[in-house]
């Protein structure tokens, strides 16, 4: 498993949840090979159905944007970062963004990925949130780390829940075609000015809605995200300070630092699996989604696998494993059954690349038991010691979809839920979604809300998965962490480039969707020494002849016809 989402989720507030998800996503997506495949609509050979919707066609169905100015952020978004709120939150004077309940009291079942141990279905948090919304939401929480393994079977059945939450990194193989075939067009409820009935949804940025278009229809309720890469090399700053370790500035410096730290006899290793950080520091084109893996390099449409940086990053990671600097548990890959956070807290390893939400999440969870514990994030370095070259992630990667068979009353109730969960920071609705009920799930310490044990247990995942406000980082209990995280995004954002298909939702034709299914598996095999670099070169040349080259032409044509979304 990847950066552990579970811990992030319980500690973090709304905005961050997205990120932890993302981390897992990354892992998975990568595996999948990036794949939203999409299929378009069509049947099996659906070349015609694949593609994307952008420009004028998209404008027709996108919801109108009406900014919300409930609270203005202390740190405005810059370079694609989230907004940061560091000022004191006065719980007594929270604003109300949903003056009257829109829910009609219907029952809505929602299947969603969940990182960690889900609470009971009738827990106090769910009851309180449901009564605020006016809809009886029944959660079907599924393990987020293995969500991709269940999704395909659930969507193939005739009994799909009213709402299914699907992260972009789980849109592998035929899932995109399932989305197009099985979920409802929300255009009739949200396109253009219709969205104004749901003001918090109207305040979701248009680039997030753009990503919610599947098969030419507005289908997803998005969770907006910062487009800066979400994987941060987190490290134990307290141990670094004590031992006098310096944060590395190049691939070589990292390697020698890792050597210095590692001492298996003392049960200490330098790091976890650093593959995703290697991709970032070597400037490899983003692998979070299939379409993001393509961009024009020197005039030629190129897949990330075909770049020398990709192989260099794998080779560096392989050396890290081979030298024995990686904690042995990470050799298990996705078979890793136990949560690494306890080992991180125990100092068994000191550097952990993880979703940015865990920067705060690990601190919030561990600080209570280990007073000296301090986690911080490293700036990404360029492998040669220069500035890094980073590739943008998508501005929304998690979507909630409504079952096509759901009657209008259910769709309206779902939108009522989304309108509450998308409420911005500083409102009662945001507080309920992210912190639960005062007294039960959080208490005020010096005027700052701090989650109780019950809050940490129950207020995790769930409602934040339905739809979210513009990407926000706000941790009233640890404002320094908000500053650290937003600052990191802004510094890294300055080095971030957008690839050709950034921001679009692209469905590949069915016949190409299986091409990269085994790619991430092979990456993981190589870095762990089970396969050789030459196996990857073989894989790439097979990939080209089996359809990679035709897929390249398909993407080139798509770019010629649609242009990019990035402005």
């Amino acid at each position: 498993m990847t950066p552990n989402a579970a811990s992030g989720s319980s500690g973090s507030s709304g905005p961050s949840r997205r990120s932890f998800l993302a981390s897992t996503a990354v892992a998975t997506a990568a595996v999948a090979g990036g794949m939203p495949l999409l299929a378009a609509c069509g049947g099996s050979d659906g070349g015609s159905r694949g593609g994307t919707t952008s420009g004028k066609n998209a404008k027709k169905i996108l919801p109108a944007y009406v900014a919300s100015n409930v609270v203005s952020p202390d740190i405005p978004s810059k370079n694609g970062s989230s907004m940061g709120f560091t000022g004191k939150l006065d719980v007594g004077t929270l604003k109300t963004s949903v003056p009257k309940k829109l829910g009609k009291g219907g029952k809505v079942t929602i299947m969603s990925p969940f990182w960690g141990s889900p609470p009971k279905g009738d827990c106090a948090y769910y009851t309180a949130a449901n009564s605020m919304i006016g809809v009886d939401v029944r959660w079907q929480n599924q393990d987020g780390n293995t969500y991709d393994q269940k999704l395909g079977a659930v969507l193939a059945s005739s009994d799909i829940p009213d709402v299914v939450v699907i992260p972009g990194w789980n849109m592998t193989a035929k899932i995109p075609s399932a989305i197009i075939g099985k979920f409802a067009d929300l255009g009739p409820y949200l396109s253009g000015d219709k969205v104004k009935e749901y003001p918090n949804l109207a305040a979701i940025p248009s680039d997030a809605w753009q990503r919610s278009i599947f098969g030419g229809k507005l289908m997803g309720l998005p969770m907006p995200a910062s487009y800066v890469q979400n994987i941060v090399p987190l490290y134990r700053q307290d141990v670094f300070d004590k031992q006098g370790y310096e944060v590395p500035k190049s691939a070589d410096e990292f390697m020698s630092l890792a050597k210095e730290i590692t001492s298996p006899r003392a049960k200490r290793w330098a790091c976890g699996d650093m593959k995703w950080t290697a991709f970032n520091t070597f400037g490899v084109i983003s692998g979070g989604e299939k379409a993001l893996s393509w961009t024009v390099v020197d005039g030629k449409m190129t897949h990330r696998m075909e770049t020398p940086e990709y192989l260099e990053a794998l080779e560096w990671t392989r050396k890290l494993f081979a030298a024995g600097y990686v904690h042995p548990d990470f050799k298990l890959g996705k078979s890793q059954a136990t949560d690494p956070s306890a080992k991180f807290a125990a100092g068994e390893f000191l550097i952990w690349n993880n979703d940015i939400s865990n920067w705060y999440g690990q601190q919030a969870i561990q600080a209570a038991q280990n007073p000296g514990f301090k986690v911080w994030g490293m700036d990404l370095w360029g492998h040669d010691g220069g500035n890094p070259v980073l590739w943008a992630a998508n501005p929304a990667s998690i979507f909630a979809f409504v079952n096509k068979k759901a009657p209008e009353s259910v769709v309206r109730d779902v939108l009522a839920v989304a309108n509450v969960t998308a409420a911005p920071y500083g409102t009662k609705e945001w507080m309920m979604t992210n912190y639960g009920q005062e007294g039960t799930h959080y208490t005020l310490k010096n005027g700052v809300p701090v989650k109780t044990d019950k809050g940490n247990l129950e207020v995790a995942n769930a409602y934040v998965m339905v739809a979210s406000p513009a990407s926000t980082i706000a941790h009233p209990d640890l404002p320094d962490y908000t500053k650290g995280m937003v600052g990191w995004q802004q510094r890294m954002g300055a080095f971030t480039k957008k690839s050709s298909f950034w921001g679009l939702q692209i469905v590949e034709p069915n016949r190409y969707t299986n091409l990269t299914n085994d790619m991430e598996q092979l990456e993981d095999d190589i870095v762990r020494g089970h396969k050789k670099m030459s196996d990857m070169q073989q894989f790439i040349s097979d990939w080209r002849s089996k359809g990679g080259d035709r897929l390249r032409d398909w993407y080139k044509k798509l770019l010629d016809e649609n242009g990019t979304a990035a402005s």
Partner: protein
Amino acid sequence: MSHSTVPRRAEASTPVQNPVASGGATGPREKNEPGRPSLRLRFRRDRTLLLMTVPAIVLVLVFNYLPILGNVVAFQDYDPYVSDNGIVSILHSPWVGLENFQQIFQDSAFWNAVRNTLVLFFVQLLLYFPIPIVLALLINSVVRPRVRAISQAILYLPHFFSWVLVIAVFQQLFGGAGLLSQLLRQHGFDGLDIMTDPATFKFLVTAQSVWKDAGWGIIVFLAALASVPPDLYEAAAMDGAGRWRRMWHVTLPALRPVIALLLVLRVGDALTVGFEQILLQRDAVGPGAGEVLDTFVWWNGVRNQDFSYAAAAGLVKGVVSIGLVLAANKVAHLMGEQGVYKK
């Protein structure tokens, strides 16, 4: 409908199989024998018994035979998402004939899975299969009932642990940062890489199976041992046979039919070497060593939603397995044993 099908089917196959009502027939090998009561009579006579088999037959039909029809997707490019109804989806999916099979036979990942499956089967046959027999002999030689009951309980217990638990325990003990490795390191040796070494994965998996299930496997052998008449041992002892000769000439011959039967069953099941256990550890060693046929089917079908491809692979496995059962059964007959069935 099952009322009528059962007897009719039975009759149709009389030359091979004995019909339900064979008890009353004297020379039941030939069709329409004069001494045999008519179908109607037999039906009336046995209707209560037949009625009692109906629920079982319905269950078998619905859960074992009906789903077999779904194998048709192996010959299609099946897309489960074109409709909410699986049958409609099948009707709407294009027919591709043997294309999936052609692809499978050219797929190196498939042959890799076949190879791993067979290697694992032989390793388990050699290292796992004999162990329950030896354990059963050991337990059988324990005289004091209390000791016997306790050792049996200890041997059976791991069978009731889930695979997740078994593997977690192995990881804690033998993992790269586990008890054993750290102990070695503290004494100046290198740590071991038992859980993530592809080269020794087959032995790791076999060791886990032995630890978990070998105890449970002795039950059948114990039952067979219990049925050996004690006077045989007495007679052999009187004739001067020692412990080993008694085991060789009395005990083992008594176990032979059971061993042969289990061996036939095991060979027929050769392509099934464990699913959950291997899936849980597949990523730890990579599919090069950790992919077997069942996980191959799972990966392609459930994980990649390529249900047609997975169904085709599953069918190939099924057909080969039937061949193996028939062959193993034949061998058992040649050795003079009963086997699974007899004509």
